[in-house]
């Protein structure tokens, strides 16, 4: 474990402080980080910074356009759009974090073990993973979420199942290369245990790719969570959520109330964009050969 920690910290920490000197890829990563950190802070500080109670309905101020009292207007129940914006990210962020953790906890060990072992176990897992990968992701997530029922963990689980194969594929392709390198062979011939070879020789070299996949996965998880909420499989109507605000805003669309959907929608776009930018930047920084 120590070696893995060293490898993550050893590559990422100096990497972070040198980002501004790494050209456009570095700046892309920084912009992504700033967006994500701002949104996370905003969600955490929501109880203190939001001007009103996000759930309080008021039938005197239904669907009011942005104005002095309500900077971003109100929705169909007279709730303050700005306050709901501050609160609305929590479910989506929780779902994304839990699903990425699930993917890491399942996808990484399976990828490492099966591709290192090779042979029949590898063939069987590859076949299984490929068949999930080829399937329309959202359709599968909808099916699982519909069966499991509501809840943050259930939603995260249905998203994780869809994205575990992407981890598996990336790890497998790397392990197959590293397995054949002379330093791994040297360790094996010196009698290193299988566990040691995987954890100390292979895993540290796979970590950068895992980091990239996980960041991109964050963006996908957020978009999938929004999609699940949109088709009616969200966590709860009672908790402010950008996804639900979009669904409810549809009813007001014909009346031209653009503010009800535009702001929560933009928040989802920003959050997904933040993670996409980090992933984009990091993959360029970690594989300099890609962009020449």
């Amino acid at each position: 474990m120590k070696r893995i920690r060293q490898s993550i910290l050893g590559q990422l920490v100096p990497g972070l402080s040198s980002l501004p000197r790494r050209g456009s890829a570095g700046w892309i990563t920084i912009i992504g980080f700033v967006i994500v950190v701002t949104i996370v802070l905003m969600t955490l500080l929501a109880p203190w910074i939001s001007p009103r109670d996000p759930s309080r309905t008021d039938d005197r101020v239904i669907a009011i356009p942005p104005s002095q009292g309500f900077p971003l207007g109100t929705n169909h129940l007279g709730q303050d759009v700005l306050s709901r914006l501050f609160w609305g990210g929590s479910i989506m962020l929780q779902v994304a974090v839990v699903s990425v953790l699930l993917c890491l906890a399942v996808g990484v060990p399976i990828g490492l073990l099966s591709s290192y072992a090779g042979g029949i176990p590898d063939k069987v897992t590859s076949l299984l993973m490929d068949s999930i990968y080829a399937f329309p992701g959202l359709v599968l997530a909808i099916a699982i979420a519909a069966t499991l029922g509501r809840g943050v963990v259930n939603m995260a689980l249905s998203i994780a199942v869809v994205y575990i194969p992407s981890y598996f594929r990336v790890i497998r392709s790397q392990v197959l290369t590293i397995k054949e390198l002379s330093y791994t062979e040297a360790a094996e011939s010196m009698g290193a245990k299988r566990r040691t070879v995987i954890s100390s020789y292979i895993l540290p070299n796979v970590v950068p790719s895992i980091v990239v996949v996980a960041t991109v996965n964050f963006a996908d998880a957020i978009l999938t969570a929004a999609g699940l909420t949109f088709v009616g499989l969200g966590v709860s109507y009672d908790i402010p959520d950008w996804g639900y605000d979009l669904v409810n805003g549809r009813a007001l669309l014909p009346s031209g109330a653009w503010w009800v959907i535009t702001f929560p929608g933009l928040m989802i776009v920003l959050l997904a964009l933040g993670f996409t930018l980090i992933g984009e930047g990091l993959s360029e920084l970690l594989n300099p050969r890609l962009e020449q």
Binding site: P136, I142, A143, L223, G256, G265, I268, A272
Partner: protein, 306 residues
């Protein structure tokens, strides 16, 4: 059990279970389903007891039409922008094209759909915001004797019928949904074309073509793009799965009466046989498309056949 079933008579529930074959042991049910599948029978809907297969087949043409037009928009837009970006590598234009690609990746398809509905449907009133066509405008297809032959694709059927007004109407209704889905999918084609073109434009045969004094456009589109296009074709096959996922959300946004809307409606009724049937159908479709792309690939790239 659905919430209202608590108040239902036990005999009625028993009858429903017998109707749907739910009284048999689980493994018998499973093999019954698999056996049915082989005969193209996807079981009976839990909501209205009608065959799921028929419901899926009647909803499928709408999804297919939406998918075809979205794919055309995504590929044309993605490839054109990708080529443009590669030719203007590392200029402001290239950077804007790349940013556009990244943003299309981060935007939820239903949000984009609502924005387009609001802009073009509600404020400008240029295009209708939902459904496939006015009920009176439904095209019948080709008339042979007393029978109508129809594909279920309204743009094709209206042409077969020879009615241009219906054709234009069908296109108008198609425009916003397929633009939405096409825009969301074009990012991946853009990125792929751009990187492939960057590599191809550096190869010797491109330099040789330029040296022979061929026009810039001829070199780019007939020489380089032809070679850079093969990976795009593979991606078209792979993206078909994403296209179906996107179609579910797009159809719900635009009340488009296809498979996606069908699935979402059935989710709300907890109609498991219908959901299961639609998912099996989606899976088969994706497998078929991958097969078709593989065959096409061998046809287009003679190296594969060697």
């Amino acid at each position: 059990m659905l919430h209202f079933e608590k108040y239902e008579r036990p005999e009625a529930i028993e009858e429903m279970r017998r109707n749907l074959g739910l009284d048999k042991p689980l493994w018998v049910q499973y093999f019954d389903y698999l056996g049915g599948l082989l005969r193209g029978d996807l079981g009976k809907s839990m909501q209205d007891y009608s065959p799921v297969g028929q419901q899926i087949f009647s909803a499928f043409p709408a999804t297919l039409e939406l998918a075809i037009y979205s794919m055309i928009i995504a590929v044309v837009l993605g490839v054109l922008l990708g080529v443009r970006g590669a030719k203007k590598y590392n200029t402001l234009e290239d950077h804007s094209i790349r940013s556009f690609g990244i943003i299309t990746y981060a935007i939820p398809v239903f949000f984009l759909g609502m924005i387009l509905q609001m802009m073009f449907g509600i404020y400008l009133r240029w295009f209708p915001t939902g459904t496939r066509i006015l009920p009176t405008m439904e095209p019948y297809g080709l008339r042979i004797g007393g029978i109508y032959l129809s594909t279920g694709l309204y743009t094709v059927d209206s042409l077969l019928e020879g009615d241009l007004v219906k054709f234009v109407q069908a296109l108008r209704y198609l425009f916003l949904p397929s633009l939405t889905l096409g825009l969301v999918l074009c990012g991946i084609f853009l990125r792929l074309t751009r990187t492939n073109m960057l590599e191809t434009l550096r190869l010797d045969f491109v330099t040789a073509a330029k040296a022979r004094g061929l026009k810039d456009n001829t070199v780019t589109y007939s020489y380089a793009l032809r070679n850079a296009f093969l990976p795009v074709l593979t991606m078209m096959g792979l993206q078909f799965a994403a296209l179906l996922g996107g179609a579910i959300l797009t159809e719900t946004t635009f009340s488009w009466p296809g498979l996606g809307k069908y699935v979402v409606e059935r989710i709300n009724f907890r109609d498991y046989t219908a959901i299961q049937g639609a998912i099996v159908f989606f899976g088969l479709l994706v497998a078929l498309v991958s097969l078709a792309v593989d065959i096409l690939y061998a046809f287009l790239d003679p190296r594969i056949r060697l």
